[in-house]
């Protein structure tokens, strides 16, 4: 299958086809009560109802009835949404807003200028499905950043590209490449688990992936990291690309279900939320629907899994005052809120100071910080103000997008404090145990 073909021009899906794709049962559950409004980051910033969940649902409804066209203006409202799904937490009727917005995005295709759309389609259909190609791009980016080329090029870029360039993360020296596909549990075996390496996680956060594997092993997990696995497809689904996304989902389902694991562990909230919803993504694929649902049930966020398994209390101390950012796709997408806090509380010496609105989006939202830098940074500056109020020495945010965004926010708006993944801190705590053996230096 050639994944680059089939790029749709905006609106050429035709109104009739659009109305049928958009007529989804989820729309019926919205009773228009408005309780979502104040929970929506873009409504809070703009005070405009077309930029609210209820407003967007109404727009999709109107388009599904053929009362308005799913045109460019419609697309702007649908794509200004961060997809944080805070509205789903607020909704008393249980409206699945994410599915409504994803259906609209499927009709629209990716956002932006024709060039931006082509770049995204290339990324979604050529790069993300292949970790090998993704790594080559990362190597190129690393060269650009290290060779001094970046310093030369930066001043020449137009303002908008310069802003986007500033959002690019520093590519570290090494990628995640475990020595073996199966790593034994430390101590008595309590479970056999698969670990998703992830696209962004394996390229930019090899250290967090390694920490996650070490923590799981110290909790009695035999860890399986299949080489043939790939990106979960979350970025595709959120940006209106479902063709490649479905192929990526099928691949991961086959590989992990075939590896005989008790759970598939994810340390990136956005990936976890998407993988738990593979059943919905593949609902019209009779060969995979059931397997996808089974896979969804096996998928667990690392914190969720460890808290349910009963975390082995770390013996080492981490003397640090932290505040916790609930990743949207963990708190709202997966309803995982208490488990990360249970794990934080298990670390001796660590003190948690809650920030106001910890479950409000930081503005990262996948590639949103690149497609909508202005809104992203407005949301981020407010988030950093809340971080500042806590006086915490560090922020814990168990999701790669949030980590990158909060680090950027610390530099741009302050306070410039370190941002950790929850697994980093647990790993440090195990490593700091009095044995002298530092767990976080042990390679995997």
């Amino acid at each position: 299958m050639d994944l680059t073909t089939g790029t749709r021009e905006r609106g050429n899906a035709g109104t009739r086809q659009a109305t049928s794709v958009l007529s989804i049962p989820e729309l019926d559950a919205c009773v228009h009560c408005g309780l979502c409004l104040n929970h929506c980051p873009t409504y809070r910033v703009t005070s405009l109802e077309p930029e609210s969940p209820r407003g967007r649902i109404h727009l999709v409804q109107a388009a599904s009835q053929g009362r308005i066209e799913p045109n460019e203006r419609f697309g702007e409202h649908i794509y200004l949404c961060l997809m944080c799904r805070a509205c789903e937490t607020a909704c008393p009727a249980g409206v699945q807003y994410g599915r409504i917005a994803e259906a609209a995005r499927e009709v629209l295709g990716p956002p932006g200028s024709p060039f931006a759309r082509a770049v995204q389609m290339f990324a979604f259909r050529r790069l993300l499905p292949s970790l090998r190609r993704l790594r080559w791009v990362a190597v190129g980016l690393r060269l650009y950043q290290r060779s001094g080329l970046a310093v030369l090029v930066r001043p020449l870029l137009p303002r908008r590209l310069r802003e986007m360039e500033a959002m690019l993360p520093q590519v570290p020296d090494r990628f995640f490449s475990p020595k073996a596909e199966v790593l034994p549990a430390i101590g008595p075996r309590r479970a056999r688990v698969g670990v998703l390496s992830g696209c962004v996680m394996s390229v930019l956060f090899a250290d967090v992936n390694e920490a996650t594997v070490r923590v799981l092993r110290r909790n009695g997990c035999e860890v399986v990291i299949p080489n043939a696995q790939g990106c979960c497809g979350a970025l595709n689904v959120h940006n209106g690309e479902t063709v490649a996304a479905k192929a990526m989902a099928r691949r991961n389902i086959d590989i992990f279900l075939g590896s005989g694991v008790d759970a598939v562990i994810v340390n990136a909230a956005g990936c976890g939320a998407t993988m738990k919803e593979y059943g919905h993504l593949l609902h019209d694929d009779p060969a995979y629907k059931e397997k996808a649902e089974q896979f969804g049930r096996l998928t667990k966020d690392a914190a969720e899994f460890l808290a349910e398994l009963g975390v082995v209390p770390p013996q080492g101390r981490v003397d640090l005052t932290v505040t916790y950012q609930d990743p949207c796709h963990l708190a709202h997408g997966q309803r995982v809120r208490t488990q990360p806090r249970i794990l934080l509380a298990s670390i001796p010496g660590l003190r948690l100071v809650e920030m106001d609105g910890s479950d409000r989006c930081c503005g990262s939202a996948g590639i949103y910080n690149i497609t909508h830098p202005e809104m992203s940074q407005t949301v981020l500056s407010e988030k950093m103000r809340m971080v500042d109020h806590t006086g915490a020495q560090a922020v814990v945010a168990p999701n790669p997008g949030c980590m990158l965004q909060l680090r950027f926010g610390g530099k741009k708006f302050g306070p410039n404090v370190p941002v950790y993944h929850l697994m980093d801190l647990l790993d440090k705590a195990y490593g700091n145990a009095g044995t002298g053996e530092r767990g976080n230096e042990e390679t995997i």
């Binding site: 729309l27 019926d28 559950a29 919205c30 009773v31 228009h32 009560c33 408005g34 309780l35 979502c36 409004l37 104040n38 005070s47 405009l48 109802e49 077309p50 609210s52 209820r54 407003g55 109404h58 727009l59 409804q61 109107a62 009835q65 009362r67 308005i68 066209e69 045109n71 203006r73 419609f74 409202h77 607020a90 909704c91 008393p92 009727a93 249980g94 409206v95």
Partner: protein
């Protein structure tokens, strides 16, 4: 057309391009509030301050088009629906809390401030804002003033009008004036009182000076469980009859409990015919005594179980269920229609029997969740608009309920307002002379009838004609 174009450009000049919406993909979002009636506005204007509101009013007057104020659009009677087109003025951007004055226990608010944000801002001073509609996490102070909103806790503390000391308003010629003021009982006519509950028909409220109350020392929440609705309603009559005024006295029936507990388990007993949620507040000694009395009364009237919430978390869970009850109806049926009738408390047992009889007669499922202490009913009629003829039966059933309320000495609305939805039912309560007198008051403020036309007063057009129903519109009505 020429007028429209000049109106648009005048509004853009005053408010800026971004805050004047005219494209269908923008304005369509403002065609509805929390009710099931929808009419597309021609223009939506979002002023940033009072001066901009005045500019919008002047521009609309020059263009001779109606003005429809809108807060958060959570209203249930179509009050924010632009029935005759014109300019919808959203006050959403005017959401600044200008002052919290703990010594005088007041807060100065812009009209778009969210109700719950007032209590959040006052909490550090040990104060709160009492009127608490179930939509308080979303609804605006301006909307509360327009509808004279109530809420579960207004049984003890009174409704919005008891908490508004003064309002800043924009009159029909664009003049800005303050009515009422920082001291209670200003001399002369109570013109502030004219604005409270006027549903946007006399001008636009841009600021409100509201009263704050001292947070009570102690609070206790009881849940009384009943196997018979009659016993539950009789308990309400007994509790208030013995001179106990709880801070809140709410009822939920079997169907409502089912809807609420479908979402998440909040501690309501499935299968019970009715529960009473009773909250008492005050000094600690008073609370203990009131709890004992309420328990005794409920047990005497036949409660199966009376339990007291053990901690703040349990209390919050119970209230979460109550406040989200209306939204939860989406879990039971694609559509629901809520009425807002009122009866004297002593007539509660018979009116609830009547509601049950109407449910059977029309073959419609009804979920009851309401402010029992105030005698303010909220029967939610569950239905599916796509079933032919069902909506007509719903309207008939709801009319029958309102007539029963009026016959029992009550009213057609407790707190949702008249709006578009009940403007023809208002004749159940008022004679033509009454309505003429009210129209004169309105005309004194709004001689052209420009502010929120087609609301409150009866017109020959029936609601059925207003309801522009494409195949599927989820009905949304709740308090």
């Amino acid at each position: 057309m020429g007028i429209t174009v000049s109106l648009h450009s005048e509004l853009r000049e005053a408010l800026g391009e971004k805050y004047v919406l005219v494209e269908p993909e923008d304005v369509i979002v403002y065609e509805r509030d929390g009710s099931i009636i929808q009419v597309m506005p021609e223009v939506v204007a979002l002023p940033a301050d009072t001066a901009q509101v005045a500019a919008v009013v002047r521009a609309a007057k020059r263009a001779n088009v109606p003005i429809v104020p809108r807060g958060s659009g959570t209203g249930l009677a179509g009050g924010a629906v632009p029935a005759e087109g014109g300019v919808v003025v959203s006050l959403a951007r005017m959401n600044r809390i200008l002052e919290v004055d703990p010594r005088n226990r007041t807060a100065l608010l812009e009209a778009g401030v969210i109700n719950l944000d007032v209590t959040k801002a006052a909490a550090s001073h040990g104060l709160f804002y009492a009127p608490d509609p179930s939509s308080q996490a979303a609804c605006s102070i301006g909307g509360n003033v327009a509808n004279n909103s109530g809420g579960p806790h207004t049984l003890a503390y009174g409704v919005t009008t008891n908490h508004v000391l003064g309002v800043e308003v924009v009159l029909d010629d664009g003049q800005v004036v303050w009515l009422g003021g920082a001291v209670p009982d200003t001399p002369g006519y109570d013109l502030c009182g004219v604005f409270v509950g006027s549903e946007g028909t006399v001008g636009i409220v841009t600021k409100a000076l509201v009263r704050l109350m001292r947070t009570r020392e102690a609070v206790q929440t009881l849940l009384a469980v009943f196997d018979r609705m009659d016993a539950a309603t009789q308990s309400v009559v007994e509790i208030t009859g013995r001179g106990i005024i709880p801070a809140a006295l709410e009822m939920m029936d079997k169907v409502t409990i089912e809807a609420v507990e479908m979402g998440s388990s909040l501690g309501y007993p499935k299968g019970a015919e009715a529960v009473l949620l009773v909250e008492v507040e005050g000094v600690r000694e008073h609370c203990d005594r009131a709890v004992a009395l309420v328990r005794e009364i409920c047990e005497q009237t036949g409660a199966r179980q009376v339990k007291v919430a053990q901690d703040a978390a349990e209390r919050q869970r119970l209230w979460k269920g109550r406040k989200e009850a209306f939204g939860s109806m989406g879990r039971l049926a694609p559509h629901y229609y809520v009425q807002d009738g009122v009866v004297p408390r002593s007539r509660l047992p018979e009116i609830m029997r009547e509601v049950a009889a109407i449910s059977t007669r029309f073959g419609l499922r009804i979920a009851n969740v309401f402010h029992a202490g105030d005698g303010n009913l909220h029967p939610n009629i569950l239905f599916d608009m796509r079933t032919p003829g069902e909506l007509d039966r719903v309207i008939e059933a709801s009319d029958a309920i309102l007539r029963a309320c009026v016959a029992a000495g009550g009213s057609i609305t407790g707190e949702h307002g008249v709006g578009l939805e009940k403007r023809n039912s208002i004749t159940l309560l008022f004679s033509q002379q009454d309505l003429d007198a009210m129209a004169k008051v309105r005309k004194a403020f709004d001689p052209d009838g420009r502010f929120n036309p087609a609301k409150v007063f009866p017109t020959p057009i029936t609601c059925a004609e207003m309801r522009l129903v494409p195949a599927k519109i989820p009905a949304g009505l709740w308090i």
